[in-house]
Every structure is written in C-alpha cells, then in structure tokens.
Amino acid sequence: MVEEFMGYLRDDGSVGIRNKIVILPSVVCSSVVAQRISEKVEGSVALTHPFGCGHIGPDFEYMARTLAGLAMNPNVYGVLIIGLGCENLTSNILAKRIKNSKKPLEFFDIQDIKGGTIAAIEKGIKIARKMRNEANELKKEPFDFSHLILGLECGGSDSISGITANPVVGIVSDKIVELGGTVILPEFTEWIGTEHLLMKRAINEEIANQIKETIDSFIESTKKLGLDFRGAQPTPGNIKGGLTTIEEKSLGTIAKAGTAPIQGIIQYSEKPKGKGLWLMVEPGLDVESMTGLAAAGAQLIIMTTGRGTPTGNPVCPVIKICGNPKTCDWMRCNIDIDASEIITKDKSLEDLAQILWEKVKNVCNGKLTQSEILGHNELAIWRLPGFGLDISKLLNI
C-alpha cells in the first residue's frame, strides 16, 4: 500500500498540509497593523516579531532568510508584507526573496499610503480577504511522503524523554526517510558528546568533517567567553534524574533522528539541499528552533517533551509527544500523544511509534494539533549568527 496524504500543491512544486495567508510585518513598527489585519481574516496569521531594523552583516542575512523562509513555507498560500518605509529590512527586500516561491504576494509600506494605521489596516484587510477567497478555491490532492519535510524538536526534556518519546520519534523519523521524505534535526548543542556517532552516520567524509568542525568551532568560541559546554553536562538535575554522562544525555536526544544516514548540515532557516536526514545549526531554544525549521520549509514538526511545554508555530503544525505520566495528566490539553504507557503499561516503543505515525498522517490530512487548537503561534528568531564566526569578535571582547 502506498502511504499518502492530501495536500495543497504550490507553484514551486512544494506541498502544503495547511493553506494559510501570512501577514508579514517587515519590521516591528508594522506589527500591530499586521496583527489587526489577521484578526479580521479567518485562516490568516500575522508573523509578528520585534526585529527588522538595524541589522548588519550576518544578522541581516539570518533575519531576512528567516522571515522570508516562514512566508515561503509550503503551508502558506499567499503573503502580504507590511513595511513601515524607513527600516533597513524593507518590504521590498523580503518581497524579492519571497517571489522565488511564486506564491501570490502583495506588499506596501505604511508611510506610502495616506491615512496611517487605520488606512493601512483597511487596505491590508481587503488584500488578505481576496487572497483568502482564492486560497479557498484550491483543491487538495494525494501526495506521497517524499513531499514532506519533518522538523524534530524537544523541549522541557526530563530523564525519561531519552528512553520514551525520543526513540519513538526516531522510529517515525526513519519511516519518513524510508518513504523518500526529508527530516531536519536542529539543536547542535545537544549533539555534543555524540559527534563521533553522527560522523559515522554521515554519507561521506566531507560531511563528517563538517559535523566535527561545527561543534568544535562552537566549543572553542564559547571557551573564549569562559564557558565550558563539554564539562557542564550532564547538569546536576540530569544526574539526579539518572543520566550519568554527556554522551548518554545526547544519545537520548539524537534518538529522535533514528538511524538514517546524515545527508549534510544546513544553516539556520536554510532549506535542505535534498531528501533524507539533515542536521541544522541552531543552538537549542525551542521556539527559535521551531521557527528555523518552519523557515527551512518543514510542513510538520514533532516535538517531544518531558516536563511539558505549550509552544507551537505560526505556519507549521506541531505534534507533541510526552513520556512523563504526570505531565500527560497535568498538561493533557497540550499533549497529542501520551507515550507514558511505555512506563505505566506494557506498551513498546514500536506500539507508540505506530500511534504516532497514524497521528502524523491525520495531521498531514488536516487534523488540528493541540498547539493549533489552542492558538500557539510563538515565533522567535535566533539572533546570534556569530556562530561560525568568532563570537568573541562579534561581542567585541
């Protein structure tokens, strides 16, 4: 049987599992206007953020790439960019990038229209409503899972995440790769301790060396700040919970990415350059990480949690899976898959992987996740692209 899901075909060949209209403020100054527009148009979402001005060098590139990437996500039908007019990350710059996706795209600056906030909101609502009507005409079609990019994430981990939720996700991750799909594992700070194993999984020596260089250069840079990333793990709380060494902790984390070969490393918010499993350079803050995954084109994120976390993403459904019985009880409204039966009943990792796989298919077919139902639209952008550069130089110390 061919595994398929019903999705929306985009003009660039990508496939969405949602059909959203994005209202993108190019700068914080137009964020309230963007928010008001989205409140008046069902199925639209404002990507409000506190940035857009005063960016230089790599910071500018990361910001532009991330905001444009979110707007270009396959789950997005069309984009309306609202600029102010005097910012350095202009609506025009973002529009040029987003044009590559061939999505319906409109943009204007508040300073260019007569009537300030009120006129800008009215103009925006008209444009967004028109896009919404066009989006509604689109019919879903069946696609195989080679069209899916899955992002992996963990947040609020506990000492049992690594023996419950994470390995369950690893089984599903392998299945997506097997079906020709793409998977992205971010959070490189959590690979530390397992470089040698990730290197063994790299498809060639060049990729293996990149993995090593990525981690080594980060550790060298943070050493100059007086931080010891290797020595500080596992934390006292981890040890109390039963984790003994840094490699044990990291093995539990990378268990999310199963056993597939590693095709390469991508930078924050960068699109994978092919199918299969990819690593993303990103330091491990949940919301920043999920923003980077969605900006890289992931249509779906699976997030494991132990202590529980409510966060979602504005353009990408997030499936939460949790292995902690108390969290599954106390934060039931935030958890999609209760993996605590591995502990409380005699369920195997494979049993839970089957349940998660069914959930993945349902969510791809349009079923809302808990984070969507509760309206979790958190967005945060990694602002330390000094990684890969000399961080101490960037901070001028």
Binding site: S159, G241, T245, D346
Partner: protein, 91 residues
C-alpha cells in the same frame, strides 16, 4: 502491568529502571535472573552483567561511559562507578 525496566538495545549491558526497584528484588531479563544489589531510583540504571573496571558501559547500543571500578551484575550504575568516555578524549 507496569514494567520494572527498559533495555534500549540488544547490545546494552545496562537497563533503566521504570519504577523504584528495591534491594534484593529479582528481575528477569533474557531468561536470566538478576538480583538487584541496592535500591535503583526511577530513571536510574543497573548492570545486566558484570562490567570490569576500564570496560565500556553500553546503552542505546553505544558507549555511554567507562567503568571506574568493577561493577557487579545488579549494581546501580551511575557517576560513582562510571565516567564519560567522551570527556576523557578532551582532557
């Protein structure tokens, strides 16, 4: 029924407790009876077989550390008797 422990991979020489296991309790793994030598807290590990000083501790089928001292079958396996093999390389 609630499981007492989980073994992540066939090659592993440690298991992780899924509930508190008491001293003197006997558990069965691969048709072998293992006597637990001291209390194992929830989420902590115990040895499925003898691990001699200097030998690797294996979980997820991978090396998670080196035994600092001889570890008997059924012993609690933690920081007191295991050190990171990874950190040794960066000393």
């Amino acid at each position: 029924m609630r499981k007492a422990f989980i073994v992540m991979a066939q090659k592993d020489n440690v298991a992780t407790a899924l509930k508190e296991i008491h001293e003197g309790e006997e558990i069965y793994y691969n048709n072998k009876k293992i006597r637990i030598n001291r209390k194992i807290p929830f989420g902590h590990k115990f040895a499925l077989k003898e691990i001699k000083k200097g030998e690797y501790v294996i979980k997820y089928g991978e090396i998670i550390g080196i035994a600092r001292k001889d570890i008997r079958e059924g012993d609690w396996v933690h920081t007191r008797n295991v050190k990171s093999a990874y950190l040794e390389r960066y000393k």
